[in-house]
């Protein structure tokens, strides 16, 4: 009997990097920032909180590679330590939002009747406000600090996550293999665990990578507005905001953390898009 050998479809991870040079570059940039965050204490030339009256607002070059700010703090050291906060808050809040979105989205997708109606209205209500505005509202309730910012940004991202999860659940739920499992009299919880959830988790992971950059941006915006992380902390948003008053004669104070933020955001966005295009079955069909 003829058994046709079909080659495995999915490209190896090696293949992705060769086919997508920008993706590779973005991954390297993100890795670089992760390394900065992980080894901040070893890499940074100065203590990020050490102030010095002698070295106030020095331009880039010399002892301080990227200059100093108005308190004489070394900007390079602050950026390196700031990467830790940016990534910590970004990843933490996205994971929080994804977990919340998964629970809410699965519940909304699987429930029926008035329960579904209520859950969908809740999701719609969260979605009605942009995540920054929502995060500001949560900060107003929670107060300031790194953990509070993570929580606020995470909560504000539950809306978009739960919407995509719900639509995935609805799509998977209507598929034939779910009906076939029901036909086999497999219990409902078992169907959800074995057949529905595995088909939801993967697209959710792709969503997580796409949304990390949004979370980093929102958290930096909160700090920029002065309602996020509290001042001595080396946070990029805070640094940009601190340098704002001096932008005409000491542009590096805002410019350097701004460049770091822009580089990380762009790299994260390219990485997220690359992963999505590579693994999202909906996009792959179009190719």
């Amino acid at each position: 009997m003829a058994v046709i050998d079909v080659p495995r479809k999915r490209g190896t991870s090696h293949g992705i990097f060769r086919r997508r040079p920008f993706f590779t570059l973005a991954c390297l940039v993100v890795l670089f920032f992760i390394a900065c965050a992980a080894f901040a204490s070893w890499i940074a030339p100065y203590d990020p909180l050490a102030q010095s009256i002698d070295a106030m607002m020095q331009p880039p070059g010399g002892d301080h590679l990227l200059g100093t700010d108005s308190y004489g703090q070394d900007i390079l050291s602050r950026i390196i330590h700031g990467a830790r906060y940016a990534l910590l808050i970004g990843l933490g809040s996205v994971l929080l939002g994804a977990t919340g979105g998964l629970i809410l989205g699965v519940a909304a997708g699987l429930s029926k009747g008035w329960v579904e109606w209520v859950l969908v209205r809740i999701i719609d209500a969260i979605l009605a406000l942009p995540s920054l505005i929502l995060a500001v509202a949560f900060i107003a309730l929670l107060g300031q600090g790194v953990d509070k910012v993570t929580l606020a940004v995470g909560l504000s991202m539950i809306g978009p996550f739960s919407r995509t999860v719900r639509s995935d659940v609805l799509q998977v739920k209507s598929q034939l293999f779910v009906e076939a499992a029901g036909l086999m009299a497999i219990p409902r919880l078992h169907i959800i665990r074995r057949h529905i959830l595995p088909n939801i988790i993967f697209p959710l992971c792709v969503q997580v990578t796409v949304r990390v950059s949004e979370a980093v941006l929102v958290s930096a915006s909160l700090s920029f507005l002065g309602i996020g992380v509290t001042p001595p902390t080396p946070d990029w948003g805070l640094m940009i905001s601190e340098g704002r008053g001096f932008v005409s004669f000491a542009p590096w104070m805002s410019g350097m953390p701004g460049l770091a933020l822009a580089a990380l955001l762009i790299a994260l966005a390219i990485m997220g898009d690359g992963i999505r295009e590579e693994y999202d079955p909906k996009l792959r069909q179009g190719r």
């Binding site: 009997m1 046709i4 079909v6 034939l176 595995p198």
Partner: protein
């Protein structure tokens, strides 16, 4: 002996809204069908004739609006709700075999699921059992580690059949299980099904629109038109001498080698939302008479084996019955 499945005057009406008005779409209308243990029956008909709805009623997925659907003398919905026996005994092979298999599970996991679920073997025995089932449908053991997306259409159908057989069913329901495949895999699958039926004594309910497939695989045939079974009987007898004009038209419309299509059926199948008065086939029937447009014929016995829903059956010997 109680028949395995018995449908009595089964009706299924779907409510649809069109321009604000509620309309009833009759997918099934007065279906009578008896399936005995060990039988092999082909359900034949055009698209939209209600074959799939009939299948869903037989599987207990769709409750009939009117009439009764019985499995071993008891309502199917009740039997289904009681325990897993019905689910184990009646296995289904979907038309879209690929869609009926979870894309994130390997073939091994897909076939192990019913094995474990129905407690057919222990976890330790499962791998050997999976390979035995794969061998039975003509697949190499290496296939066990693959995902459905890595296999061809014919292979995926085989996996679906292997999975259906895993629960050791007594009834195999197949919806267009071989359509859309190339002729050689079609032939292999048909041989496989025929062998399984002979070896395991399976009751086979096979939906198809291919009369050739029906005649090869099934001893009995039921021809459907617009939600009603218009003729039933032994496949050979029905196809040799159809009693219902629709059966005859289907028979004539089947292509034969080197012959032009003799009598293509004219006209479109009417909408089930608004059925013509009288016989539903009268509008397209070449033999329609005046009373055909007034009286709706039910499926009535012609002799011991055959039945047709026609006021003026074609075959001479039945004409005076």
């Amino acid at each position: 002996m109680t028949p395995l499945f018995e449908l009595r005057e089964v009706e299924k009406t779907f409510e649809i809204r069109r321009k604000g008005k509620k309309l009833g779409l009759r997918a099934l209308d007065g279906v009578r069908l008896t399936i005995t243990q060990g039988a092999s029956i082909a359900l034949v008909g055009e698209s939209g004739s209600g074959k799939s709805t009939l299948l869903r009623v037989l599987l207990g997925l769709t409750p009939p609006t009117e009439g009764v659907a019985l499995y071993q003398g008891r309502p199917i919905a009740q039997v289904r709700a009681e325990n897993r026996e019905f689910a184990r005994n009646v296995a289904m092979v979907y038309q879209d075999a690929r869609g009926s298999l979870n894309p994130r599970m390997t073939v091994e996991a897909l076939i192990t699921e019913p094995l474990r679920h129905f407690g057919i073997c222990t976890a330790a025995q499962a791998p050997a059992r999976v390979r035995a089932l794969l061998a039975r449908v003509g697949l190499a053991p290496e296939v066990a580690g693959r995902f459905p997306s890595e296999m061809s259409g014919g292979q995926v159908r085989r996996v679906a059949i292997a999975r259906a057989l895993a629960s050791e069913p007594t009834v195999l329901v197949a919806d267009e299980a071989v359509s859309g495949l190339d002729v050689s895999s079609q032939a292999q699958l048909l041989n496989l099904l025929r062998r399984l039926q002979a070896e395991m004594g399976l009751t086979l309910i096979f939906i198809t629109h291919d009369l050739g497939v029906a005649s090869y695989l099934c001893a009995e045939i039921a021809i459907m038109y617009l939600g009603r079974i218009v003729e039933t009987g032994p496949t050979r007898a029905v196809l040799d001498a159809p009693a219902h004009p629709y059966a005859r038209a289907l028979r004539k419309a089947a292509p034969e080698f080197f012959a032009p299509l003799a009598e293509p059926l004219t006209g479109e199948i009417p909408s089930p939302i608004d059925l013509p008065p009288g016989c539903r086939f009268s509008g397209r029937c070449a033999y329609a008479q005046a009373d055909c447009r007034l009286t709706d014929p039910a499926l009535l016995r012609l002799n011991d084996h055959r039945a047709a829903a026609c006021l003026h059956p074609l075959t001479q010997s039945f004409a005076n019955v």
